[in-house]
């Protein structure tokens, strides 16, 4: 059926950056997440938690706070002292505004989203009014001593509680005065005089304040009287993050040990109305500091230094005990960071600051299934290309012939020509001022397609002298959203482009015109590819559905209709990670090769589709059967889970695959040592 020599690559040393802060927008069901390297990601929780948008980081930025305000507008603030608003359509920064209070440590929007409050290094809390298209400085509340490390609005927006070192203050928004000042107890076992940093505060509508501090305490205060109501010593190390549920009956805190604790407001006795906060559940999914937690409507979301985003459904809130109740962990981006020059057998790895070019090794041997072949020529590191300026690389590509490399930062697009005579020489092409969200070379390496803002795709012609802008494909819809995914046909006739507003357009490259628009599906596209022979467009959506669209006939293919009628296997639909790459085997037109993070799959369109009763993963069982019996039992999905976690897979030539793995243990080895914990028996 299919035997491949697999180049198993583990030298892509990607280190996802730690998670700094998160905010959840119930309105759009999206989670905004900022990492330590300044990048911001948006996860669409409604669409199977797909990482929908990524704003590349910047070395000059460090994000300390992120929040949604005024109908899904996203703001971040950081130690540069600037407040940034993001353009969610074209994945760039709309504007930045200085807070004039030194580094900003904390930011929060009031419940109605009309105002932003920032807590600054100089001890001031400044309020900004959120206006359409901008924000405007409104007032500064009385300056206090010490930096404002955390702040929270009262749900009625009348007061703001701030947390700084050893101190919690309640400020009146109207008068700007501090109305309450609460000193937080420093004392902690062992370390008497270490200052107590209030890392997180929350203001409940009942007037109760909640604080989380570096002494490991979660405390409940009466804001009226300034008295302590309850203390929970949850840990000996810092409690770094705090989040309260919308209806204020549950809250979560994250600690430096990597533990997340849930507190719930439960009746003291059954049947009584008197209720108190009780520590109910510990969750331990992180190995390092949990820097941020979010209490979603039915989930607890946590992230931290180990760069894992953990979405933990609360079982009591989940009605069906099915896939929705499963714990989700996200480590890797839901997009491709690797591109491959099939003909030249080169791999280009994209890191935030640089690109790495590697040549794959070779083997002369052949072998049977599961054998490791001796390597006659080992892999070769050809090039490391560092980007210019503080902006991080947002996308990159290598041409199939291997002689062109292109990459882009949010502001610029770079194209380089490579020559391989005695070593690698690189020649620079003039920089282009285009924004790029994805870069794609045509199969014959003569054209460069660049996905750009406002559903446009730029086409450049490549020649030895340089690259020339030829045409800009523009969709008829005139949508404001950027194009995010591209696919070109092998014969060079067709170009498919998916945009962030779920629109897929097909352009004719020969005629330089728009060919057709696909029916809009409810979920974002995760991968897109055009089959070489039939010119059928294969689309993978974030809800794990697969569609095949015939470009010539401008309609879904018969196989696609069959799949939709029959329905995909439940195990297939309940996979955790999206399909990030689709490729084809030219010699087997009926085969589709695709992969997600945990499996590699070949779909044979000629075979029957599996139903829910037959096991989806049947490779091991089939291997034990005779040739004849295999035919009777095999189905269209041939899945191998041998390579995990899988970041990239491409067919080099017939019978040769390249897979890029990034083992989690390798990432963990790169992390700083976690807080030492006493384990029983050690």
């Amino acid at each position: 059926m299919g035997e491949f020599q697999v180049h198993r690559v583990r030298f892509f040393h990607l280190l996802p950056s730690g998670i700094r802060c998160m905010d959840y927008s119930g309105l759009s069901d999206r989670l905004a997440l900022a990492r330590l390297d300044g990048s911001v990601e948006l996860y669409n929780l409604a669409a199977n938690c797909f990482q929908e948008k990524v704003f590349p980081g910047n070395e000059s930025r460090s994000t300390e706070a992120i929040c949604w305000a005024a109908e899904c507008r996203l703001f971040t603030a950081g130690l540069s002292g600037d407040i940034l608003e993001y353009d969610l359509h074209n994945l760039c920064i709309k504007y930045s505004l200085n807070g004039f209070g030194g580094p900003i440590w904390s930011m929060a929007a009031n419940r109605s989203g009309t105002h932003l409050a920032i807590g600054c290094e100089d001890g001031s809390v400044k309020l900004f009014q959120v206006l359409p298209e901008k924000i405007q400085y409104e007032t500064s509340l009385d300056r206090q001593k010490g930096r404002i490390l955390s702040l929270a609005w009262h749900p009625a927006a009348s007061h703001i509680v701030t947390g700084s070192i050893d101190m919690i203050r309640v400020l009146d928004v109207k008068t700007g005065h501090a109305v309450r000042r609460i000193a937080v107890d420093r004392s902690k076992m062992g370390m008497q005089n270490r200052e107590c940093v209030v890392w997180g505060v929350a203001f409940l509508s009942s007037g109760t304040l909640v604080s989380a501090d570096s002494a490991g305490k979660v405390q409940f205060w009466d804001s009226e009287k300034g008295t302590l109501i309850q203390t929970h010593q949850v840990t000996n190390v810092d409690v770094l993050a705090l989040s309260v549920s919308q209806n204020e009956d549950s809250l979560v805190v994250g600690t430096s040990e990597g533990t997340v604790f849930q507190f719930q407001l439960v009746p003291v006795r059954t049947g009584e109305t008197a209720r108190r906060w009780v520590r109910t559940k510990p969750f331990r999914h992180h190995t390092h500091d949990v820097r941020t937690v979010v209490h979603g409507p039915s989930t607890i979301i946590s992230g931290g230094l180990d760069s894992q985003l953990v979405i933990r459904p609360l079982m009591e809130k989940v009605e069906s005990k099915t896939y929705d109740a499963a714990l989700r962990k996200f480590v890797f981006p839901h997009r491709r960071l690797v591109s491959c020059a099939q003909k030249a057998k080169l791999l280009l790895f994209q890191f935030p600051q640089y690109l790495e070019l590697w040549r794959l090794g070779k083997t002369e041997a052949v072998g049977k299934h599961d054998e490791v072949l001796p390597i006659s020529r080992s892999q070769e590191h050809l090039l490391q290309l560092k980007k210019k300026g503080p902006e991080h690389i947002c996308c990159s590509a290598i041409s199939p012939c291997g002689s062109w490399i292109s990459y882009a930062t949010p502001s610029r697009l770079y194209v380089h020509r490579l020559q391989y005579e005695n070593g690698v020489s690189i020649s620079k092409m003039p920089r282009l001022l285009y924004s790029a969200h994805q870069i794609l070379f045509s199969a014959d390496s003569t054209k460069l397609f660049v996905a750009s803002d406002r559903v446009s795709v730029h086409m450049f012609k490549l020649s030895e002298t340089g690259c020339k802008h030829v045409h800009t494909f523009q969709a008829k819809s005139g949508s404001a959203e950027a194009t995010c995914l591209l696919a070109a046909s092998a014969d060079g006739n067709w170009l498919a482009a998916a945009s962030l507003d779920l629109e897929i357009n097909v352009y004719s490259v020969k005629l330089l015109k728009h060919h057709c628009t696909l029916p809009v599906y409810k979920c974002p596209v995760t991968a897109l590819a055009i089959q070489p022979m039939s010119n059928n467009l294969i689309i993978a959506y974030s809800d794990q559905q697969l569609f095949e669209f015939s470009i010539q006939e401008k309609q879904y293919s018969t196989w696609c209709r069959k799949v939709q009628q029959h329905g995909l296997h439940r195990d297939w639909r309940e996979r955790d990670t999206p399909i990030t790459n689709i490729t084809f085997n030219p010699s087997q037109p009926a085969h589709i090769l695709l992969h997600d993070t945990y499996s590699l799959c070949i779909i044979d369109k000629t075979l029957p589709l599996p139903d829910d009763k037959t096991p989806l993963l049947n490779q091991a069982a089939l291997r034990n059967l005779s040739e004849g019996a295999r035919k009777a039992h095999s189905h269209a999905f041939k899945i191998s889970k041998k390579f995990q976690p899988l970041l990239f897979m491409e067919l080099l030539d017939e019978g040769t695959l390249v897979v890029v793995e990034r083992p989690l243990t390798d990432i963990q080895a790169q992390l700083p040592p976690p807080v030492r914990q006493k384990k029983f028996g050690t």
Partner: protein, 722 residues
């Protein structure tokens, strides 16, 4: 079990008052009338812990006996200054303004019961109904007791129009009991004598049932005595000593109790308030409930703040002065029985001891299948059903009859007939569950064997055992008979088939097998089974020879020479038990039956001690032989089916050594055997420790190969998707 509930405080008491004068029921449920030692009477609602009313006599006056409530009129009656009677109602406030009667004699007590006119007991021992007294308050009162006598305690008992007053008086340490019947009045007088010197009665209870007054008295020695006084006895002038029986002896630490109080909770339960030694050996006031029938302590409650030694009991509640408060402790008494105490309440329905009439389930089942078939075949359902139902019932009726007849026959018919009669049953039994029939047949046959010495239907019995329907408990005498007759064939079968043979019988079988002479053994037809697989028939003769030696009381091969270690080392072939089986095949087969039978080592051990030294030796040799045979191959199993496995063999070796260790050590013949066994075991231990090492190395190797699993940074592998 009786239990004391959570107590509560009814009221506080004036300090230094030293208890209460009395508590009486307060003319209604949940009411109590308290009379304090001074001047006041208070009515309480008990469950609410709330006073309902309180009355006080003038300064200078003293209430001299507990106030009571006249249940018929709802009035309260009290006596102050011994002679002045006061009667008042709830609404009265001032006792000075209520009805007053001055009596001619000092009153000792008032008694009031529901459905009874209140009684006034004078200190002279005389008693009057209140109405009669009020008609003429100044009437003369006769003296019932002598002048020196002092009343210590009185009680009124009531049963069916019969009112009895019980009086205890004291005169210089002598106590007397007076039982006064009222209407018609009569008087009985008894002397109370204490067995123990200086033991005085402290507290009493009295009750009347079936015209017999039961008096219980607690003495300072800690004994509770019970005395019965029949009212039928004619009153006699002469003094009788009251007969008494010891009901209960309380554990008393100090020489004698000083204060104690007794209350009867019901027929069998008494409550005792006394300073009794507690678990920590310090004496504390405590309230205990005892069951007098079984003399068991039911419950106990410590009263650490001290008590006044007074105890009252009304309406399921005990009243105790505890410290400075009056505590009310509710109690519950359930009638105790020994069986419930032991957890074995006897089943009311007595199971029928009669033999269960046996049912041929086969016939039932066949009938059922026929029914089905017929239902399928015949379209006229109603008819077929009707006919079949009758048929079925006839089968059910006929079959037990047939069996009963057969069982009757078995008791009489001759040996040869039995086989004939049983043949059809055996053929049926194999596939049906007819344990009861098998048991009945076996019981009849065995009991006949016991009676008639010549009667022994061996074949029938063997067939019965072979049906696998029989077990030891169904017919315990079968194996006993077989043992008596030394019928090893049946014994072998039983050992193989029965799952529930007692260890004593197993050991008896073992003893029989070991001690049987070879000649008898040769004659017996024994299924040698798989023994052939590991005992070389060529050795039979030699083994037999060895057996003869055993028969003569002489030791076989290893002990042939007077053995010592040196010799053994020099002549390994002598100890080489591998070569020769110490027993012949038939005996081996029999012994195997014992080895594979189920047993529990705690129970088998004492019976194993019955074996003689020679028998032990022979058995040990055989076990060693088996053990060596077992270890000859890798799987450590003997060839064939139904053979003992190595664990069973080793267990029996251990058991045998445990049971006869001293004997074996002392026996010179056993020395060689023990040494060779020890050597062999040591070699085995060494061998297994070597295996252990290899296992460890292999495990490491496994780990090492596993560790190789994560490939390096780059590898080219082959993947085939089928």
């Amino acid at each position: 079990m009786a239990a004391l509930g959570e107590g509560f405080t009814l009221c506080g008491l004036a300090p230094g008052s030293g208890g209460l004068q009395g508590i009486e029921p307060g003319g209604g449920p949940d009411r109590a009338l308290l009379t304090d030692p001074g001047r006041s009477v208070t009515l309480y609602k008990v469950s609410d812990q709330k006073p309902l009313g309180s009355w006080t006599v003038k300064q200078g006056q003293r209430i001299t006996c507990p106030a009571v409530c006249n249940f018929e009129t709802g009035e309260y009656i009290a006596v102050h200054d011994s002679k002045i009677l006061r009667i008042w109602k709830d609404e009265d406030v001032n006792l000075e303004k209520v009805f007053k009667a001055t009596l001619s004699e000092d009153v000792y007590r008032l008694h009031s019961r529901p459905n009874m006119e209140p009684l006034v007991v004078f200190k002279t021992g005389a008693v009057r109904f209140l109405d009669a007294l009020l008609a003429a308050p100044q009437q003369g009162i006769e003296a019932v007791i002598s002048e020196e006598e002092v009343i210590r305690w009185t009680e009124v008992c009531l049963e069916a129009e019969q009112t009895v007053l019980v009086l205890i008086t004291e005169k210089d340490g002598d106590y007397c009991l007076y039982v006064q019947k009222l209407n018609p009045s009569s008087l009985l007088k008894y002397k109370l004598k204490s067995e123990v010197e200086k033991s005085i009665p402290l507290s009493f209870t009295a009750s009347l049932k079936n015209k017999i007054v039961t008096l219980q008295a607690l003495y300072s020695s800690g004994c509770v005595y019970k005395s019965l006084v029949s009212l039928h006895q004619p009153g006699t002038e002469e003094e009788q000593v009251l007969p008494k029986s010891l009901l209960l002896k309380l554990p008393v630490s100090s020489p004698a109790l000083e204060r104690a109080a007794l209350a009867a909770l019901d027929d069998t339960h008494i409550a005792v308030l006394a300073a009794l030694p507690s678990q920590n050996n310090d004496t504390k006031d405590c309230l205990r409930v005892w069951n007098t029938q079984f003399q068991t302590l039911q419950t106990s409650k410590e009263l650490p703040q001290g008590t006044s030694g007074q105890l009252w009991c009304y309406e399921g509640k005990l009243y105790v002065v505890h410290g400075k408060t009056l505590s009310v402790i509710p109690y519950q008494c359930e009638s105790s029985s020994l069986s419930s105490a032991l957890g074995k309440l006897k089943d009311v329905s007595i199971s029928e001891a009669k033999m269960v009439s046996s049912v041929n389930w086969n016939a039932f089942l066949e009938g059922g299948s026929e029914l089905k078939q017929l239902q399928q075949s015949s379209p006229v359902k109603t008819d077929s059903k009707r006919s079949l139902r009758s048929q079925k019932s006839s089968v059910a009726k006929v079959e037990p009859k047939k069996n009963e007849q057969l069982l009757e026959d078995l008791k009489t018919v001759s040996l040869s007939c039995i086989e004939q009669k049983l043949q059809p049953i055996f053929s049926n039994m194999a596939e049906s569950n007819s344990q009861i029939t098998a048991g009945q047949i076996a019981t009849i046959l065995v009991s006949r064997c016991a009676v008639e010495p010549t009667f022994y239907p061996r074949d029938a019995l063997i067939q019965l055992v072979q049906t696998r329907q029989l077990s030891y408990s169904l017919c315990p005498n079968l194996m006993t008979i077989a043992l008596e007759k030394t019928d090893v064939r049946i014994l072998q079968r039983c050992l193989q088939q029965f799952p529930d043979i007692p260890e004593a019988v197993t050991c008896a079988c073992l003893k029989t097998f070991l001690s049987m002479s070879n000649t008898i053994l040769q004659g017996a037809s024994i299924d040698v089974g798989s023994v052939v697989c590991y005992i070389d028939t060529a050795q039979e003769d030699r083994a037999d020879a060895a057996m003869e030696v055993v028969q003569n009381g002489f030791s076989p091969i290893p002990m042939g020479e007077d053995s010592c270690d040196v010799q053994l080392v020099q002549k390994p072939e002598v100890t080489d038990a591998k070569q020769l089986c110490p027993v012949n095949m038939k005996r081996a087969a029999l012994l195997n039956a014992v080895l594979v039978s189920a047993y529990s080592d705690t129970f088998v051990l004492p019976h194993l001690k019955d074996l003689s030294a020679q028998q032990v030796l022979l058995f040990l040799q055989y076990l060693q032989y088996l053990y060596v045979k077992c270890t000859e191959n890798v799987s450590t199993t003997l060839p064939g089916v139904d053979v003992p496995n190595v664990n069973q063999i080793m267990d029996w070796i251990s058991l045998l050594l445990d049971a006869h260790f001293t004997v074996i050590v002392m026996l010179p013949e056993a020395k060689g055997l023990l040494t060779s066994l020890h050597k062999f075991v040591r070699a085995q231990v060494k061998f297994y420790s070597e295996l252990n090492k290899i296992e460890g190395s292999l495990q490491e190797l496994q780990k090492a190969t596993h560790r190789h699993q994560p490939p390096g940074q780059y590898s080219i592998e082959v993947l085939e998707l089928v």
